[in-house]
């Protein structure tokens, strides 16, 4: 353990010691305290592995119990989700449809607005303007999601959509929830996309200007393509946020799980179902309780796949420049 500590640390910081020379400067003092401390640091690092393992275990056991009662085939293909009714149906598709609607609406809002803001901040804004507006925009991600949820039910649905635009939405709709969700994830798209564009070397822009392009052309034809993997990562990350967000959709989208056909309808998402079911006191060990975890596992697997794509994209764009 002490050799990793002594040789690995400094060499990572840029070769403080010639790498070929053997480590001979051993201290006479064994410094047990430091070894204990290093052990604690490694343990702390291991917590994140334990967390992942814990998540998988805490989801999988109730989910296995659930799938003893309900066939995986029914779960994945039936279009009716009525676990609380006398006639119980366990088809997860309505919940996935609900999630797909809110996510799609959110991304339709957040991708153009987030990328627009990112391009403005990285390519046009003066450092002064950027210093003021970037943190203000990021506050959007800091607003608690219950406050957004309240905003969706109390204002966006009834006042903006119904009152100002005359769209026939009820108290709850996937449209209102999706729009507000989109506003929440604007900074997710904007931050990472801006980082990616700022990382594009100045020389590329100068070459473009030198060939006679104006700034718009340089942004669209040079900077944007050069930063594409980072921009893609920002969108994938926003997608993951939108799929996993709970409170906005639980409060704004409604609680009827059905195959949503139009954005003005109400619908229930996977997270919305988990939140609603968690409120009802289901007893541990019952199918009711296990249903929650089966949906949780589905949600976890979906976001895990999205996250792996996003991690791959982020690592790629970090490597490029």
């Amino acid at each position: 353990m002490s050799t990793t500590m002594q040789s690995a640390g400094p060499s990572r910081q840029g070769g403080l010691r010639p790498s070929s020379a053997p480590v001979t400067l051993r201290s006479a003092n064994p410094r047990y305290g430091e070894k204990v401390l290093l052990g604690f640091l490694m343990l702390a690092a291991a917590v994140s592995i334990l967390t992942t393992v814990g998540i998988v275990l805490s989801l999988i056991f109730p989910a296995i119990a659930f799938f003893r009662e309900v066939s995986i085939g029914e779960f994945l293909t039936s279009t009716s989700w009525t676990p609380r009714f006398a006639d119980k149906n366990y088809g997860v598709l309505p919940l996935i449809t609900g999630t797909a609607w809110t996510t799609a609406i959110a991304l339709a809002v957040a991708i153009p607005l987030g990328l627009g803001a990112a391009i403005y901040l990285s390519e046009y804004a003066t450092p002064r303007v950027r210093k003021i507006f970037k943190p203000v925009l990021e506050l959007l991600a800091g607003v608690p999601s219950v406050v957004y949820g309240l905003f969706a039910v109390a204002f966006v649905g009834p006042v903006i959509l119904k009152g100002w635009f005359g769209i026939g939405v009820g108290t709850y709709s996937v449209l209102a929830a999706g729009l507000v969700l989109g506003i929440m994830i604007i900074p997710t798209v904007a931050s990472l996309a801006e980082d990616a564009m700022t990382a594009v070397p100045r020389s590329l822009r100068e070459a473009s200007y030198g060939l006679g392009s104006n700034r718009m052309r340089t942004v669209l034809r040079v900077v944007f393509p050069a930063a594409i993997s980072g921009i893609a990562a920002s969108i994938v990350l926003a997608l993951s946020r939108a799929v996993g967000e709970t409170m906005i959709v639980a409060m704004g989208a409604g609680s009827q799980a059905r195959m949503v056909a139009a954005p003005t309808e109400e619908g229930q998402t996977m997270t919305g179902f988990i939140a609603a079911a968690a409120l009802g006191d289901s007893v541990q060990g019952t199918t009711d309780y296990n249903t929650l975890f089966a949906v949780g596992l589905t949600l976890f697997v979906i976001t895990l796949l999205i996250n792996l794509v996003s991690i791959k994209l982020v690592n790629r764009f970090r490597e490029v420049y």
Binding site: A45, S48, F151, N214, A278
Partner: protein, 300 residues
Amino acid sequence: MATTTAESASTAPLQAAAHGDRDSRSLVFLGLLWGSLAFGIFALGVLLVNTFIEGSGRLDLMLFVNYTSQLFPGKAGARAAILGSLMVIVVTALLAVPLGVAAASYLEEFASRENRFARFVELNVQNLAAVPAIIYGMLAAGLAVTVGLPRNTVLVGAIALALLILPVIIVSTREALRAVPREIRQGSLALGATPMQTLTRQTLPAAIPGIATGTILALSRAMGEAAPLLLLGGLVFVTYDPNGLLSGFTTMPIQIFDWAGRSQIAFRELAAAASMVLLVLVLAMNAVAIIIRNKFTTSR
């Protein structure tokens, strides 16, 4: 157009092609970009103003000193929720900050690029950062059942929130450590300090502003988070003060969620008033974080 390039090369934004941006398409494009940024900021403003208008009627003393009520929304308050939020956040910080800083120190200062354990931890951290918050509630509930603790306690809630923000703290602490000039480490090592002494006496103290920024932002997120706590059950109607790690509790986001879902308009007003209080707390934390960041990035 080209002559200004050399002069502006040292300043941050490229002004070189400014004169090429006078045609109508470029101006429309710039207008769209500006509009995107303005829309986000405008939406934030509308949200704040609307919440304030809806809640101003109930932004009174009763909101702070009374408990919630099923029957009398006019007199109900968020006392249990405010105290619960503060208590849970303190416990969350006590759990998450030491663990996060320690994990980040290990990954950044002691683990080599080839260390497979460290790479695997990194992959986990990256993934956990994007795992839905509500899943952490399921983890905490499962954990509580396994060790035989009641689910709806301050400790279990704080564990859920601490695990939720741990990746955020790890990532921001690593960035703060990375920003510490290499010369500080080299100087310390050259004077005979061990790598551990270098970390605890030089590198970590130098990184404190960055760590503080990331930590405060993470805690403000935990403060506003309701989803994982819903899974702990029994949190929506609490009419007593939390009085210890194993005490029952509720938090402001949960209380707001409960009030917002009730049909009487008076409860919705109450939800908006409590939202104002929560917003002030969370936005103040954000502001402090930004001030720390700005102060220390300009002085360096």
